[in-house]
């Protein structure tokens, strides 16, 4: 409503009394900070990506050599392939699971067992979200430890010793072990966002559907999923961006290994910067990642600007 009326009358908020020029001064701290911390460093990074630089001495300009080397580097492609898996782990799976959990909490638990019960359960789902990722990493590293770790001990205890794995040491299993941790971390965020979204939906919609004899699954499919569309879109885009940037869980859990089985672009560039000190090459990886993330983030920004009120051009 408000959005429409504002659109219809865009001049309403103009302040004709005063020129807006003097407000530029308030932008100075933010602008200087942005230039010093983002703009100039990113420019330097792009420049470094065109050089050969071992961390000491002067960077030597080599044009696009680093980028042509990237294209032929299987580790680079492996890192982006793993990124796709992490998008599933951090964006798709938690969103799917989160919508379902939120709807069940909202439709079954809250009306029949009280809102207190549903908020307690929401908090239980949210709790992993508050952990520093490094802490989650230490915790899970211990759970996954092959000899005395929790998971293998449990399998031993219940007589399923055959299911024991070297969770982080086996290159076929490691990435799924990391995926499991990320899903565990992310679910809380999606549940909280979708529950808030559901409280915005007009209950009359559900009542009308109930009157028409629609069962829960139909109502979920037709009403819940449709009404939550803005939230789902935003959550998927933001978490996908986060998935492309994922670093800390890899650093703490696997360091990209075994081999390159869990390597991600962020860790790959870090590794080139500070372990092998191929700074120019690392900068090229980081530049590619930055461009990719920016393209997705711009999509997000356009989407959100279109949907936020009080902010029309």
């Amino acid at each position: 409503m408000t959005l429409l009326s504002r659109r219809a009358n865009p001049k309403r908020r103009r302040q004709p009394m005063e020129p807006t020029g003097g407000y530029w001064a308030y932008l100075i701290p933010g602008a200087i900070g942005f230039a010093a911390v983002v703009l100039i460093p990113f420019g330097m990074n792009v420049y470094l990506s065109l050089t050969r630089f071992r961390g000491v001495g002067t960077p030597q300009f080599i044009g696009l050599d680093n980028y042509t080397r990237l294209i032929g580097d299987p580790t680079f492609w492996a890192s982006f392939g793993n990124s796709l898996i992490f998008i599933i782990a951090m964006a798709i799976a938690p969103t799917a699971f989160g919508v379902l959990v939120a709807a069940l909490l909202f439709d079954f638990i809250a009306p029949r067992f009280g809102t207190r019960m549903s908020s307690v359960m929401r908090a239980m789902f949210y709790l992993p979200q508050i952990l520093p990722i490094a802490v989650a990493g230490v915790l899970w590293k211990w759970m996954y430890q092959p000899e005395y770790g929790v998971l293998n001990s449990i399998f031993d205890a219940v007589g399923l010793g055959a299911l024991k794995q070297n969770w982080l040491g086996d290159s076929d299993v490691a990435i799924w072990s990391v995926v499991n941790v990320l899903i565990w971390l992310q679910i809380g965020y999606t549940v909280v966002v979708f529950m808030a979204g559901l409280s915005r939906v007009d209950p009359a919609l559900y009542e009308a559907a109930e009157l028409d004899g629609a069962g829960w699954i139909t109502r979920f499919r037709v009403i819940t999923l449709n009404q939550l569309r803005p939230e789902i879109a935003v959550v998927i885009i933001t978490t996908s961006v986060a998935a492309l940037k994922v670093f800390a869980p890899i650093f703490v859990l696997t360091k990209g290994g075994p081999g390159t089985s869990t390597i991600v672009p962020a860790y790959f560039s870090f590794y080139n910067f500070f372990t092998t000190t191929q700074v120019g090459y690392g900068a090229a990886v980081a530049t590619v990642l930055a461009l990719l993330v920016t393209v997705i983030a711009v999509g997000l920004l356009l989407f959100q600007t279109r949907n936020s009120e009080g902010f029309e051009k």
Partner: protein, 304 residues
């Protein structure tokens, strides 16, 4: 519709539903719990408890004597409360120091970032300066750009400026990066600030700075509180830049010191549990303190 089954879709359909009550808020009122309700409750509780299971394991094993762990495994409840592992970890990494570092860095970043955000958002939201949409879009790059694409130049720049391995350097950098999100949030809040109030103040001769400090600041305090809370927790949890820019142990944060643990202590399982617990505790305290703000903020950030 006949009286049978409004819930045909569910596998465990309840035969007869409560008669429809005239109240519009019916959907949230306690209807009959029904078999399906209990099934859903139990399934959800099992999943929720599984989510918390790792926390319980950290708690119970942190206090378990390591000999007992080797004998009875991670699932047993400790027979005695043994603080050895926790104390060893705490002293081994000088955890008090890390906590203090994290509080100083996170607190400073939260306040400075909120201040920068407020100033920029004042120009954009209230001042409605030209090209504000583009300015915001560019600022948002600070929030979305992967820090890997900034880290090596930041490493060079801080080294040349004498800010490498200082808390001040990390505070400045993280404040700027986080203020991008704050500017975005606050701009849309200030964009819908009641114009009448601003006009009235202007007619009374208030300067822009006075309007900002006496009118806008007090009225946006709730949003600022959410921002400060989030900045604090984000900084507390932040890993990558503090890892690179604060190499010496005396400057490290809680997150980095725990992340650096990986590899160490792997022969001593209860030490890892104790380390996890030490990392969980402050986060848990924030959660209890700020639960409401967090839930509000998550949604503010997601849908605004």
């Amino acid at each position: 519709m006949t009286s049978t089954s409004v819930e045909l879709g569910t596998p465990t359909a309840v035969p007869a539903h409560q008669p429809r009550s005239p109240k519009p808020a019916r959907r949230r009122s306690r209807a009959r719990r029904g078999v399906s309700g209990w099934v859903v409750l139990i399934v959800m509780l099992v999943i929720a408890i599984l989510m918390l299971f790792p926390f319980w394991l950290a708690l119970s094993n942190a206090f378990k004597p390591s000999a007992e762990y080797i004998q009875t495994g991670p699932l047993s409840v400790p027979s005695t409360l043994d603080f050895t592992a926790l104390i060893q970890f705490w002293q081994g990494v000088n955890f008090n120091q890390k906590l203090l570092n994290s509080v100083i860095i996170s607190g400073s970043v939260a306040l400075i970032a909120a201040a920068i955000s407020l100033l920029s958002a004042y120009a954009i939201g209230v001042g409605r300066i030209k090209g504000r949409v583009w300015i915001l879009a560019i600022f948002m790059l600070a929030f979305t750009i992967p820090q890997e694409a900034l880290v090596y130049p930041l490493f060079i720049l801080t080294r040349d400026a004498g800010l490498y391995d200082t808390q001040l350097g990390v505070i400045i950098i993280l404040s700027v990066l986080q203020s991008a999100f704050g500017t975005y949030m606050l701009s849309s809040v200030l964009g819908s600030f009641p114009v009448e109030v601003l006009e009235a103040a202007r007619i009374d001769g208030a300067s822009r700075m006075q309007i900002l400090l006496r009118i806008v600041l007090p009225l946006t305090r709730p949003t600022l509180a959410v921002l400060v809370t989030f900045f604090f927790i984000w900084t507390w949890n932040d890993f990558f830049l503090p890892l690179v820019l604060l190499p010496s142990a005396a400057n490290q944060t809680v997150s980095v010191s725990l992340g650096a643990l990986s590899g160490q202590y792997t022969s001593d399982p209860t030490a890892l549990a104790a380390a996890s617990l030490a990392g969980i505790l402050p986060a848990f305290i924030f959660f209890i303190l700020f639960q409401r703000t967090l839930m509000r903020g998550v949604n503010l950030g997601a849908v605004k």
